[in-house]
């Protein structure tokens, strides 16, 4: 590796000592054959037709966006291109020829690198091994040369501008750092095609910029990039072309330069969207939730604030600032080391979610698959989980149909799209799953609702609906504590913004004071509170 140092740049580490096989001259994208393409591809999961007759082409030097609502079939396309699944009909073409991928390894062998939507790391293994799994540099006797491995990965991480120890196990990393490992993994080999399924969902603006820098370099070097994100501004910032999906079908394929956000949204949802952040003014009443000097070693220090009736308070900050940890501690999932939480003047016992629920707190957690829902359980049972006591009849037994009644009420109110309430909740699309989580907490009739990343990974249409709901709830006198990494959401929805930086509340901003600059400055620690 020493000899070839100069030829190694971001994204092109040639561990086998070979020259990068990238087409160095940047030919205009239009004339070349696509490096990889789908032709007339269809794919069904049971009755769900996730992909219908989709054609998409990725050419050298092109960054293409894939846009669409939740469940439009974006990840399905990724899986077909990555060789994880084969299309039921249609073909994958590599350099114009039909390729039969039998597994992800086949796709990788032709130079397809993928960042999947779900984390795909090995928590017990080191950062370096995660990046280089299956491609460890070998020393004598075909044994792995760990020193070379760590060095190579260190170099790669340095180029990405992150301080991560390659020998550290992934287990202890924050979600953002884990995402960076994913990115490093995809960039670690000689990729001709880079596919990224919502790589920025867990990243802060700073890290997103870094990533974009890498993408641009790749593009210059002649790689093809497929980029998926629900943040439309990112699409316009980095992508040359965009493919829009609706219900598994391609509805538009064109240059980003030729369209604007409104048009993109219209093509995605098939209708006009008026107001994305319909925050209504609500009457703000007495403080309900009071947090005083809450501290948890290693996560956050000395956090104090209050939330009033009818108020939406946003907790902003960079990923890893400790916001979710505060929410967990308030709800009692973790036991704080010091400090108190009071609801309507009554102090809560630390570390007891049951007590917190009784006192009227609800928590919509950030990770709905892991924390919010029991995927293989039915919609109605998931909705009933928070109300097991209330659903009992006189005999102490859960009455026949009482869960269904409970669930169908909320399903109607939240306009849930489902087939049967007895279907597993895993059958629903992401946005609808989020509604189930909301519903299960609203059903408890909380006084305070903590919503962690209310719209993470949710498409624009559903997003607007969730925001409308939050606004309505606040209007009905609910105290809402919202944690969000999306600045527009924070600015659009909150009556008050608390900005966290490195485990402390760095600044409190009123709705009037809160603008992009103030929040970012506070979040990055540029102003003391």
């Amino acid at each position: 590796m020493t000899g070839s140092d100069s030829s190694v740049s971001i994204g092109f580490c040639c561990f086998e000592g070979e020259e990068p096989q990238i087409n160095q001259q940047s030919t205009p994208a239009e004339i070349t054959t696509p490096i990889i393409a789908l032709k007339g591809a269809s794919k069904s999961y049971g009755a769900v037709r996730a992909s219908r007759n989709v054609s998409i082409e990725l050419r050298a030097g092109e960054v293409r966006a894939l846009a669409g609502e939740n469940g439009a079939g974006k990840s399905t396309i990724v899986r077909m291109l990555a060789g994880v699944q084969r299309p039921d009909e249609g073909d994958v073409l590599v350099d114009g020829d039909v390729a039969a991928f039998h597994g992800p390894a086949d796709a990788r062998d032709v130079g397809v690198a993928v960042i999947y939507q779900e984390p795909t790391l090995f928590p017990d293994l080191s950062v370096a091994e995660n990046v280089m799994m299956g491609r460890h540099p070998l020393g004598s006797g075909r044994r792995i040369d760990f020193r070379a491995l760590n060095r190579t990965v260190k170099e790669l991480l340095d180029r990405l501008g992150v301080k991560l120890d390659p020998e550290q196990p992934v287990k202890g990393l924050s979600i953002a750092d884990q995402q960076i490992v994913e990115i490093a993994k995809a960039l670690s080999f000689d990729a001709r095609v880079l596919i990224m399924d919502e790589p920025t969902a867990a990243l802060s603006g700073h890290e997103v910029e870094r990533l974009f820098g890498v993408v641009r370099t790749l593009k210059e070097r002649g790689a093809a990039v497929l980029f998926i994100s629900h943040r439309l501004d990112e699409i316009f910032a980095i992508c040359d072309t965009v493919t829009v999906l609706r219900d598994g079908e391609v509805t538009h394929d064109g240059r980003t330069a030729d369209m604007d956000t409104d048009e993109l949204v219209r093509r995605m949802v098939g209708r006009e969207l008026s107001n994305l952040f319909p925050k209504l003014d609500a009457e703000i009443g007495q403080p309900v939730l009071k947090v005083e000097r809450l501290t948890r070693e290693g996560s956050f220090v000395d956090v104090s604030f209050e939330v009033r009736r009818g108020e939406i308070v946003a907790l902003a900050g960079l990923v890893g600032a400790g916001r979710s940890e505060v929410a967990r501690a308030i709800f009692g999932i973790d036991k704080p080391d010091a400090g108190t939480v009071t609801i309507d003047g009554v102090e809560l016992k630390p570390g007891s979610p049951t007590q917190a629920m009784k006192a009227g707190i609800g928590l919509v957690p950030e990770d709905r698959r892991q924390q919010g829902l029991v995927m293989e359980m039915s919609i109605e049972r998931n909705m009933g989980l928070t109300r097991l006591q209330a659903l009992r009849n006189r005999l102490g037994v859960i009455g026949l149909g009482s869960e269904a009644r409970n669930a169908s009420d909320w399903a109607t109110k939240l306009q849930l799209k489902f087939q049967k309430l007895s279907d597993p909740v895993g059958f629903l699309s992401g946005g609808n799953q989020q509604k189930v989580v909301l519903g299960k907490w609203l059903a408890t009739g909380p006084k305070v609702l903590i919503i962690d990343e209310p719209t993470r990974g949710i498409d624009v249409g559903t997003k607007a609906e969730v925001h409308r709901l939050m606004s309505e709830l606040a209007g009905d006198g609910l105290a809402v504590l919202m944690i969000s990494s999306e600045l527009p959401e924070v600015l659009g929805m909150a009556d008050r913004v608390l900005v966290m930086h490195e485990g402390r509340i760095a600044r409190e901003l009123s709705r009037a004071e809160a603008d992009e600059e103030n929040v970012v400055r506070a979040a990055t620690g540029q102003v003391a509170a």
Binding site: G103, E118, L385, V397
Partner: protein
Amino acid sequence: MSEVKTRLARWETVTVFLLLVAILYGATTSGEDFLSGGNLNSILSDISEIAIIALPLTLIIVAAEIDLSVASVLGLTSAVMGYLWNHGWAMEMIIPAVLVMGALAGALNGVLVTRLGLPSLAVTIGTLAMYRGLAYVVLGDQAVADFPQQFTDWGFGTFAGTQIPNPFVLFIVLAIVFGVVLHMTGIGRSIFAMGANEEAARFSGIRVKRIKFWLFVVTGAMASLAGVVYAFRFASARADNGVGLELSVVAVVLLGGVSIFGGKGHLLGVICAMLLLGTLRNALTLNDVSAEVLTIVTGSLLLLSVLGPSVTARVREALRRGRGVDPPPTPTTT
């Protein structure tokens, strides 16, 4: 897929079907021997202890934990019963005392699993050895066989003139209680939820640790109860009572369609599975099939119980896809 088809494809249904086949086999090959009341009695009494322990163990496995120490708790119970009886305790005192002891044994498992966060498989392999060891410490090489007649009579006797053994009647009562708790109460829902996704259960305000702890306690107490039944049924208390029974109980629960990964299963399936196993073994023994074949049959049934659903699902998948390749499991994404 239609409702009926899904239901048919459920493993519990297959178990019921196999049970019917086993009965038919017994009835046609051994005729009146098999169908006699006395034989019914021996089928049912042979599975008494397994059946009693399988009830709480079903709950534990649905909650994605396991308890391998049950047979040792049974043995320890027998040993302590013998010891206390030798020391002049009244049987009316001994029974509650050993039940409490069983609950404590379960509580130790529970504490280690919930408070220290240890994997229950490892913990209960440890207590499997420890409780059996304590049984030897308590009773050594003695066998206590002079329990009062009315108790041993109960263990061996039948219920109100029928051919149903008394211990099995006890089981039926307990089965109803456990069935209701698991399938019709909030606790049951919580058990399913934490078995399928413990974190989500915690985030729903379910007291996961507390419920798990009590599940272990109840399992200990029930294993103890099985120990009492065992001691009475065989009129004998020895330190080695019930050695190796844990594997049979686990086998029965899994055969009944309960997923070892938690979150799935039905108590009726488990009950069918134990009747199936009891009936089949009985019918085979009546036909002079040797012990080794019985072992093979037990093992094969267990294999079938997990392979059956999985293989049919994969075959169905392959047929549907038409292209006949096996897709790697995909992380479901929306």
